[in-house]
């Protein structure tokens, strides 16, 4: 019977059984070491380099000189502090507004069928696909004409726009996972459609939306191209 070897060895067959005794353990250890080396290694180098005095960074693989001077220098530079505050403000505002704007659009995509949702989903898919540079480049001139080039509004609004498509898509997934029968019940009991959305569906989606908020904040914090083009 084919299942016999499995029964006899006491554990399911694994390809590592072909190795020497302890081979599976050794293989897993090797994999663990390789993963740590690959993913942690470059970051360790980054941290170690940041702790080196200026003349020692060129000898990254030897020497024992460490200093915190780099951090003191950075934190004493007005422009860097200002940049951090700007990033923080833009990321926070963009997160709040883009979540607020996309939550209703995701709800609509999730709960309705017909030509309007289909057209809206098509629009979202198409504009999710368009490369950033294709619309940020002319946006540079649009901002210039609107007089918001190199202002908070000029950098904030595109960061909101970039999230519309993707977040509507994700929010739709959140609402798909929530059973609509509570909303039916609310509608039968005389609740308006807005009430069913805001008071019944939205509270159930809050945990997922909070997670998306963190993600959104990180995306905005990490974005580089917009700031490169849209600020002087």
């Amino acid at each position: 019977m084919t299942a016999l070897p499995v029964e006899q060895s006491g554990h399911p067959y694994r390809w590592t059984d072909a190795l020497a005794p302890g081979g599976r353990q050794a293989f897993l250890w090797l994999a663990t070491i390789a993963i740590v080396f690959l993913f942690l290694g470059p970051i360790v180098i980054l941290v170690v380099t940041s702790l080196r005095p200026g003349w020692a960074v060129f000898y990254i693989y030897r020497g024992t000189d460490f200093t915190l001077q780099n951090y003191r220098d950075v934190l004493a530079t007005e422009a860097v502090i200002h940049a951090f505050i700007n990033s923080f403000l833009v990321a926070t505002l963009a997160t709040i507004v883009s979540i607020g704007v996309t939550v209703s659009s995701g709800y609509m995509l999730s709960r309705f069928r017909g030509p309007i949702p289909r057209a809206w989903f098509g629009t979202i898919y198409v504009f999710r696909t368009v490369p950033y540079i294709s619309w940020v480049l002319p946006l540079y001139l649009v901002c210039y004409y609107l007089g918001i080039y190199d202002t908070y509004a000029g950098i904030l609004l595109p960061h909101i726009a970039v999230h519309i498509c993707f977040f509507s898509w994700i929010m739709k997934g959140f609402f798909d996972g929530i059973d609509p029968s509570m909303e039916y019940a609310a509608l039968i009991d005389g609740c308006t459609r807005w009430g069913a959305f805001l008071r019944v569906a939205l509270p159930s989606a809050i945990p997922a939306i909070a997670a998306l908020g963190i993600l959104s904040w990180l995306y905005t914090w990490n974005e580089f191209l917009f700031a490169l083009i849209l600020t002087g």
């Binding site: 390809w15 993963i35 970051i43 659009s105 950033y132 540079i133 294709s134 580089f224």
Partner: protein, 316 residues
């Protein structure tokens, strides 16, 4: 993907008594639907659609930045770019090669890492954190870090190569080594993303088919190719779709690592557009490049959408 629930039906709405459906085409339900998407729609129109129309207009004009004369030149820029040897022999192959290699390698690496994390061993939490590190730091920082790691004189890789006896290689001064570093960095950043999503997929798979496969004495490789992959295919399809579209427009990693160099040999579509606009200061030609890129990715994304729809219902 979660199975969608049926939509909120009309019959249940107290506002819509049976027989009242003979309203004009913009009924109460349609108005509600439109109101829900109006905020998102306004932002989308103002900051994506208007700029694209603006750019399309600019791409037909001879438009030097900060020069008020904007002569209509028709398709001149399009013809120039489609005949530009840099665009045809460097930019397009680089863009698609980066897209293909980055997505394929991160998918394979992500599958391996997801299986590694799926074993529920002690010490799993620190490993999961380590694997997630590349997703936590900004791509720009990651690119600067990799540039330092691969520095041809002071970098760790150069030191290692020196130690095992290879002479110094000027990584960032040649096309393919530079391109390799770009691909490596991109894969390094995005493998954890694939791993995380595929791990969630693996954890949601039912156990019974795997037990059945064990009873039938299927080997691990056979189990993987005949059970795991087919059952994960919808997750994989979505990951590949999203990631391919993003990889096509990658800008910051390449901009920091090589800046498109040496001698424009690692330029991808976004870098080419940026350089035409802000280095050569030709807004018309840059817009035309942006339009061509957008059209190419629309076609590619359409094809991929059709392919993905065979595996799963993407829009649901």
């Amino acid at each position: 993907m979660v199975k969608a629930h049926p939509p909120v039906s009309d019959g249940l709405s107290p506002k819509m008594a049976p027989g009242q459906n003979a309203e004009p085409w913009l009924g109460e339900k349609e108005r509600f639907m439109l109101l829900l998407i109006v905020p998102a729609g306004i932002v989308l129109v103002l900051f994506q659609i208007v700029p694209i129309i603006f750019g399309a207009n600019a791409s037909f004009r001879d438009w030097q930045l900060f020069d008020p004369v904007r002569t209509w030149v028709g398709l001149k820029h399009y013809i120039y770019i489609l005949n530009d040897p840099t665009f045809l022999t460097v930019v397009l192959p680089n863009t698609f090669l980066l897209m293909f290699l980055s997505v394929t390698l991160s998918l394979i690496g992500g599958l391996a890492l997801a299986h590694y994390l799926h074993r529920n061993l002690a010490g799993q939490w620190p490993m999961q954190t380590i694997i997630l590190l590349p997703q936590m730091i900004a791509p720009v920082i990651a690119a600067m870090m990799m540039r330092w790691v691969f520095n041809d004189q002071f970098g760790v890789v150069a030191a290692f190569l020196d130690w095992i006896g290879f002479g110094p290689i000027a990584w960032l001064a040649q096309r393919w080594p530079s391109f390799f570093i770009v691909v490596f960095t991109d894969v390094w950043i995005w493998t954890p993303w694939f791993a995380l999503i595929l791990l969630a997929g693996l954890r949601s798979l039912p156990r019974e088919p795997f037990e059945a496969a064990q009873i039938d004495a299927a080997g691990p490789w056979r189990t993987f190719t005949h059970l795991t992959l087919p059952m994960l295919r919808s997750v994989i399809a979505v990951c590949v779709l999203i990631r391919s579209i993003d990889a096509f427009r990658s800008f910051d990693v390449i901009w920091i690592l090589t800046g498109g160099g040496p001698a424009r040999s690692t330029e991808v579509f976004s870098i080419y557009t940026y350089i035409e606009t802000f280095v050569n200061l030709d807004f018309g030609r840059g817009s035309a490049a942006a339009m061509i890129g957008a059209l190419i990715i629309l076609v590619v994304a359409g094809v991929m959408y059709k392919a993905a729809s065979r595996v799963m219902d993407v829009s649901r």
